[in-house]
Symmetry: C2
Subunit: 329 residues, 2 copies
Amino acid sequence: MNKIGIIGTGLIGTSLGIAIKRSILKDIEITGVDLEPSFSKQARKMGALDKVGRTMVEVARGSDILFICTPVMVIKDVLETVGGELKKGCLVTDTGGTKLEVMRWADMFLPNGVDFIGGHPMAGKESHGPCNAEPGIFEGKAYCVIPKTGASTQSVDALVKIIKSLGSTPFFIDAAEHDSFVAAVSHLPFIVAASLVNTTSNSPQWGDISKLASTGFRDATRLASGDPIMHRDVCLTNGDSIVHWLTQYVRQLEHIKELIGSRDSNRLDELFETAFEKRGLWLSGLNFPESIHRKDVPSVPNFSQIMFGERIANKLFKAKGNQSKKDDG
Amino acid sequence: MNKIGIIGTGLIGTSLGIAIKRSILKDIEITGVDLEPSFSKQARKMGALDKVGRTMVEVARGSDILFICTPVMVIKDVLETVGGELKKGCLVTDTGGTKLEVMRWADMFLPNGVDFIGGHPMAGKESHGPCNAEPGIFEGKAYCVIPKTGASTQSVDALVKIIKSLGSTPFFIDAAEHDSFVAAVSHLPFIVAASLVNTTSNSPQWGDISKLASTGFRDATRLASGDPIMHRDVCLTNGDSIVHWLTQYVRQLEHIKELIGSRDSNRLDELFETAFEKRGLWLSGLNFPESIHRKDVPSVPNFSQIMFGERIANKLFKAKGNQSKKDDG
């Protein structure tokens, strides 16, 4: 029997528990705990846990594999609290959105004989808490894996096995690179969304303006409804990378502002065409590794035809040709 | 029999045609035309048109009510071309995303005896072209109505009747206010999305970065897959309002950048909490007029409980109390 512990049974911890219990993995007992007692009770009710632990130390002591699924800043406290209580040979992993700081804390607080592997499932929803948990959120997603120096092959294999059982694809990556990459595609987007809400709703006319806000505004701001604490913690632990991308982003906005100011039709056209094509290429899975590319997604140009119609599909198809050539050379 | 003409049978024109044909309105014949002949054929095949016209002049001549559903900049050419060919007493309307310029063109090119009413359905999809048309996109949405000075009550009533038959709610508004409001909630969001795609995909490491982009990035950038020509035309005809909002937005981003730079935990927390709550309030329909508020959407706090869980629902519920008090005062 493998004993898995989950500290933090919010959206991710609970989804993870349910997904593992429903997976092909057998003989697993999951014990979980949350600072908010109603969260661990809810997680158990939803089938994520076999048992609710009384304290995180109790959960840590009993675990062969311990998942820490709290907001990033809490991971530090958890590691400090449970570091001295872990079984020799056990594996500790986390699901935090930033990795450099987490790896540093693991270095500080975990004893020899305990393996730490940083983890980050590229999965989420705008809602949070255990009642919004869904085991399917991991399916078809990348799951970043960052083994601490000296982690045993056995521990890495064990985590990879669990990740695959969730339907995710393990993605080995360096912590610094991880933090820079997710700053671009996860952290910048939630800052963009929250800023869009704050900019518009700050207006004294928001009461009227908001009546015209429709599905476009809803989707563009979806990430602003993510957990504020999670967002804050990500900013506190990945500030440098985020500031780097924010600077690039503001530069891009200033550029558009100039083009709009001078009514530069051609270059505005070019700019929106570029964004259109780059997103189309990304969506059509060209930049995804084969392993993540789901089999039921039709290939370009078929997929693009469904999304964009034939004219655009042909354009994307040509762009794909160029892209492949570039990749080959 | 009412003869309706549709010039421009892309996503909106075709969706409109299908929605009218399936509505409770009877004895309506719709003729349509598009610069791209395959578009009008497709629109007819999908049930949006009874007949395909040969030229826009032919369609205009035969219409009691003429919808111009082209990109904004094309509306000018259409008005100029058909202005002298319209029946006396006919109603001309459009579906363009900006209104000040359109109203000015209508002034310039339409003769006395023709009524013009600017229109703007707050409906859309990121995909375009007639094959993506859906009659349901108008349902539950605001539809802006801007009658030109001197438009007859009869014409206004006729348009309102059609708008209601689509399931939309007519929203009377001044052209300048319209352009400023939609710059905030429609135009700023697509610029934000396109800039996010261009900033990230400009990176030489985009091939790897994009592997970590997930549902958050997908939704935050959805509007970047809208029609580039439509986006360009909106920027060309609503530049001043957009630049105003872009300036506010960049100011907000610089503010966040500072807070992140100084690791200001409290104020970052506050900022994300504000965005979270403001979006929650908007979503829960508090800012929508009753008429747009769909009956099957549960009220706060029930709706919020589904979305956010109980703790947050209570918070929103308190915020609602304050909001109502403010509105009353």
